[in-house]
Symmetry: C2
Subunit: 183 residues, 2 copies
């Protein structure tokens, strides 16, 4: 069977193809724009997106959304992480966190999957902290200022190690467990 | 005729009732939740909200959305102003603007009105600047850090004067001009 990854990012398609290679599922890239709503929970964005896509007649597809939630900033930038990265960026987050002792943060990734008429929604998480300065050159977005072990930033981790500990890795593993029950 | 103001904020209803008192229109408060989409333009939020409400069968209604757009922060917090106010607040904006010489900002208010089968969308604006510290006790949200004249903050203006210069005042005047053509 075919599972369509609805995204504008071809990198995600490759990632899902690799992750789900043990199932007899063909992964296909589909670009269908859908609205993301304003809310404080990634799950709401994903569930609403799924309803929207199903209403337009789409079946057997995957969408996802990710964000970084900083404790001392009441969850900011959260669901709006992409927008905040484009505007105030890592420099802005570091400035907001100056002199802040509580550095606690987490990355979250929510995946929604419609498969054989069933909806699966999983939330992957990675707990960590905001570093005091940008470090590393790998990855993208908030990776240079986020650390899961308090030592190395996500932008310093080899991709294999990052996938093992990251919110996306966690979400993909949760998704695989659920898919196993359906296929 | 009756025009329904769709909002969770009763203050807005009073404001529209006063503004539109010269027309023979009864203003009614309606609470219908509708999704606000993630985008960089208030107009997109409002137009999408109107489509959603019309699809649910509602006619003859008003919705609006406002935001503060800071030049040096690439328009941040913009469409997400309410969320940003709830999380990092005015202290966060001031911190992001420390040592920033370009203080330029504007407030925008977009009103969408469905009236007699016609859609009206207007965008009111108020140019100004971000102050270096919070001043004044009137108003709400970003009012203590925004000034239209470079001297007094919005939180220091008497309400009548604020309505004359504010983005909401501007938007309401634009709306009245458009309503005149329809009724």
């Amino acid at each position: 069977m075919i599972l369509k990854v609805v995204t504008s990012n071809p990198g995600k398609v490759t990632e899902y193809r690799e992750a789900l290679s043990s199932f007899s599922i063909d992964i296909e890239h589909t670009r269908i724009p859908y609205d993301e709503i304003q809310t404080s929970r990634l799950e709401d964005v994903v569930e609403n997106g799924m309803e929207h896509l199903k209403a337009s007649g789409l079946t057997d597809f995957i969408i996802d959304d990710s964000g970084m939630f900083v404790g001392a900033l009441k969850g900011f930038p959260g669901v709006y992480s992409a927008y905040v990265q484009r505007t105030i960026g890592n420099a802005g987050i570091l400035r907001l966190m100056e002199n802040e002792e509580n550095r606690e943060a987490n990355f979250q990734c929510c995946i929604g999957c419609n498969l054989k008429g069933k909806d699966i929604v999983v939330l992957g998480k990675c707990d960590g902290m905001i570093l005091k300065k940008e470090t590393g050159t790998e990855g993208f977005g908030y990776d240079p200022i986020f650390s899961h072990d308090g030592k190395r930033s996500f932008a310093e981790l080899p991709i294999v190690e990052k996938n093992r500990v990251s919110h996306r890795g966690d979400a993909v593993r949760l998704l695989m467990k659920e898919i196993e029950k359906v296929v």
